[in-house]
């Protein structure tokens, strides 16, 4: 099957500064891929390069089987690439009604097909009743849905969403996110979703491409990414990570939390990574159980976290059910469930 979007070795510089370094990944048709990375890592530049607002100095960009940029030359102008864009904060045209925003990219905007397409898309995002309203009359979440409908209207090969919920408050973000994902699924569209929010990426996308320091360091399904991160940096960025010094001997590693089974074969001095939810209070401790003193406790409502200082002064974080949270100063025995990660 032809990829909806494919990047091969894309490199881009602003003057002396390299912003994108050998970026390669594929987005399959009908899927949602999240491009996950911290702020300032080059995500927005990557989007602009894909859209055609910047021409990369090297590499190849393929949209729907057609080369749109290759070896420093833009072959297809931005307006002919067939790439929908949902920018930050929606960016609806303030001088046009909701319906006219949606029909903006359609040919023959006054035709019956255009009107039908517009009302179909407004239906899809659940805003059929708002067609004649002005953008400023809508809430932030509604504006995002109109922006999605507008991007989908000309039937693009792929829709790019650039941190679409950055401006919404936390409570609203969850529900709008669910609505957007559902609309994308129902329309069968292909989407590349840029975000710095790992929870958003892991929960919404079929695939996640992690971008760190100007390059894509790993691409995979959310579960795969969380369970088997390719590098220590990915492990630390995707999900919370407890770090310990350790000595690996193939399938196990010895560290302050005892002898732990490893997910992959490693030998030598390593950094051991365990997720906070893998660390539990040991209610039947033995002589060899790791012990420590609780130095901080955070109550989140449904659950909570404690920081425990181990005898060798290393600190681990444990995520516990809220009713199990010990008080600060208590001495506790711990155990680790599942496999640990180790990076040389």
């Amino acid at each position: 099957m032809t990829a909806a979007l494919e990047l091969v070795g894309v490199t881009h510089r602003f003057g002396e500064t390299t912003v994108l370094d050998d970026v390669s990944f594929v987005v399959e048709p009908g899927t949602i891929t999240a491009l996950l990375g911290p702020s300032g890592v080059g995500k927005t530049t990557l989007l602009r390069v894909i859209c055609g607002f910047e021409t990369p100095q090297g590499g190849r960009i393929v949209v729907g089987g057609r080369d749109v940029a290759r070896d420093g030359v833009s072959l297809v102008a931005a307006e002919h690439r067939g790439i929908g864009l949902v920018p930050q904060e929606g960016a609806l045209f303030p001088h046009l009604s909701v319906a006219n925003n949606v029909s903006f990219g359609l040919k023959q905007r006054r035709s019956r097909e255009s009107r039908e397409r517009t009302s179909h898309l407004l239906d899809l995002v659940g805003l059929a009743q708002c067609a004649d309203q002005r953008p400023e009359e809508l809430s932030g979440g509604m504006q995002q849905r109109v922006a999605l409908a507008r991007a989908l209207a000309p039937n693009p090969s792929v829709v790019l969403l650039d941190e679409p919920f950055a401006s919404l408050d936390a409570a609203l973000r969850m529900s709008v996110r669910a609505e957007i994902v559902e609309a994308l699924r129902r329309s069968g569209a292909t989407a590349l979703w840029v975000t710095h929010d790992q929870q958003e990426a892991l929960s919404c996308a079929d695939h996640v491409a992690v971008m760190l320091d100007r390059r894509i360091v790993q691409r995979g399904a959310p579960v795969e990414l969380y369970r088997s991160p390719a590098t220590q940096a990915v492990a630390e960025f995707v999900g919370e990570a407890v770090q310990l010094r350790g000595r690996a001997s193939g399938t196990t590693v010895a560290c302050a939390m005892g002898e732990l089974p490893l997910a992959q074969q490693v030998v030598g001095e390593v950094t051991v990574i365990v997720r906070p939810e893998q660390i539990e209070l040991d209610d039947a401790p033995t002589a060899t159980s790791p012990r420590g003193r609780v130095i901080a406790s955070r109550f989140y409502g449904h659950d909570g976290e404690i920081d425990v200082r181990l005898p060798n002064d290393e600190i681990v974080i444990a995520r516990l059910h809220a009713r199990l949270l010990p008080t600060v100063g208590a001495d506790v025995a711990l155990r680790v469930t599942g496999q640990a990660l180790a990076f040389a």
């Binding site: 859209c51 607002f53 102008a77 307006e79 960016a91 045209f93 990219g105 000309p154």
Partner: protein
């Protein structure tokens, strides 16, 4: 992030044309200045009269600018921060002196108090005519300024009066500077007021040199010196202007504006009433009484014809200026690069050209290059376009820069070409700025005196030239109807301008 995009030809070509239009006259000015060799030009510079001229011009500029900074700031504070009722009406009334040409005020004062003629009269008239250049940006910035800061100062034990000086005044200081430099630029360029007050400053002497036998070296050399002076002011103004817009653009928390108590307002009110009374009252009352007491029987059909030609020339100038300013504004706001830099430089230099200088250089251009057009309407409009292009470009550019680039990106991602995006997104969003720019050009063209005097076809009279023609021979009865007509015509664009200028940050 800079956008390294190449501008479409449909934007680049007219923008380049505008750059050429803006800069060509200056080249002719150099040519005229050096026509009798460098030595002759240098002699003109070093004669002692020139030094006195320079000192007098600088002194007038200093006095008027300082007075405008004070009056303009007090009036701005009054219309934004006071508890005065009907503040929007006060704003428009206080901005109205912009609608009254300086020469008209000057003649009104001289006919009322003949001894005012000279430095004092010119200072008073120019202050009353140009304090709105300080008031409007300061009012806009006061609207945008965070009133919380004043509250914080009060909570730290500072009195209302000193909070005003120590906090609020500091907040709007960049706008005061920027406005003051605009005033200074206006004063060195002004021809009408100093001519009516018979005060020998650069503009008046240049006009005299031009009229007295057409000594191109003297007129052109003095004009170049004036340009150098104005260029200095404009360089300073630009530094402050960027700071002003940055501060406004940062978007401070805008909670409800604090209103000052009446004890603070009362002295400011005296300043405002004086500004309005002397700024609009004197010329308006004079003009009306001239009309009523005029001994000459007014030829109303001639007045009507003059109104029509003023209106027609204003309209043509406004239209032509907008047509050139739009591509330039779009280029400067959206397509940064070499072409934009060159165009910006050209327009920027043009901003420092006083009307009298533009008029002179267009005369040389007309005589040397397009003789059939000399003293024809197209060349008059051409000259006025050069004068107002920088102002209109500024208005258009600012309003384009205020709309989000993302909107244009979205448009292109939806399959709309760059040019179509300009028409479907960029221009509609910049409508307020474009309207303000157009109003600016029309208003300016109707008031503009030296360009019209020098470049108009001999058979055509505008309101400005008619007022001038009858005033210089003290036939004020005949001036009246033209003066009243010009003030009423100019009031409309002035009201629109002051509204846009202050509303911009008031959302």
């Amino acid at each position: 992030m800079t956008r390294l995009l190449r501008a479409p030809v449909a934007i680049a070509a007219p923008a380049l044309l505008a750059a050429v239009v803006a800069i060509v006259p200056l080249i002719y000015l150099f040519d005229a200045s050096l026509s009798r060799g460098v030595d002759a030009a240098v002699r003109e510079v070093i004669v002692s009269r020139t030094t006195i001229l320079l000192i007098r011009t600088l002194l007038l500029t200093l006095v008027v600018t300082a007075a405008c900074a004070i009056v303009g700031t007090i009036n701005a504070w009054l219309v934004v921060r006071s508890s005065l009722p009907l503040r929007p009406v006060w704003l428009i009334l206080l901005a109205m002196p912009l609608a009254i040409p300086s020469y008209l005020s000057a003649f009104a004062w001289v006919s009322w108090i003949p001894t005012m003629s000279g430095f004092l009269g010119a200072s008073v008239v120019l202050t009353l005519a140009s304090y709105p250049y300080v008031m409007l940006p300061v009012a806009a910035m006061l609207r945008g300024a965070d009133p919380m800061l004043e509250d914080v100062a009060r909570s730290l034990g500072v009195s209302a009066q000193s909070a005003l000086v120590r906090v609020t005044l500091r907040q709007v200081a960049p706008a005061i500077w920027a406005g003051s430099l605009l005033v200074a630029l206006y004063v060195v360029s002004d021809f009408g007021a100093v001519a009516a007050m018979r005060l020998e400053t650069f503009t008046w002497v240049i006009y005299g040199a031009y009229r007295a036998g057409f000594n191109p070296t003297r007129a052109a050399t003095l004009a170049l010196m004036l340009v150098a002076l104005a260029l200095l002011l404009i360089l300073l103004e630009r530094r402050f202007r960027t700071r002003v817009t940055q501060r406004i653009g940062a978007g401070t928390a805008r909670s409800s504006v604090r209103r000052a108590p009446f004890t603070l307002v009362a002295p400011a009110l005296i300043v405002a009433l004086t500004s309005i009374g002397f700024g609009i009252g004197v010329p308006l009352v004079s003009s009306i009484s001239w009309t009523r007491n005029g001994t000459a029987i007014t030829d109303w059909s001639a007045v009507l014809e003059t109104i029509m030609s003023s209106f027609w020339i204003g309209f043509l100038t406004g239209l032509a200026t907008l047509l050139l300013a739009l591509p330039v504004g779009i280029l400067l706001a959206r397509f940064k690069g070499h072409l934009a830099n060159v165009t910006e430089g050209a327009v920027f230099v043009t901003h420092s050209l006083p009307g009298i200088v533009v008029a002179l250089s267009v005369v040389y251009l007309g005589i040397n290059l397009v003789r059939p057009l000399y003293q024809q309407v197209p060349l008059l409009v051409f000259g006025q376009v050069i004068i107002f292009l920088p102002l209109v470009v500024g208005a258009v550019r600012t309003s384009i820069e205020q709309s989000r680039v993302a909107l244009e990106d979205v448009s292109r991602s939806l399959g709309v070409s760059r040019m179509a995006t300009v028409f479907r997104v960029t221009i509609p969003l910049a409508t307020p700025g474009i309207a303000a720019g157009g109003a600016l050009a029309v208003l300016g063209a109707m008031k503009e005196l030296p360009t019209t005097l020098i470049l108009r076809p001999t058979s055509v009279e505008t309101l400005a030239t008619s007022i001038w023609k009858y005033s210089v021979v003290s036939d004020f009865g005949a001036v009246g109807p033209y003066a009243v007509a010009l003030m009423f015509l100019a009031a409309l664009p002035t009201a629109l301008l002051s509204h846009v200028a202050v509303a911009k940050v008031a959302r």
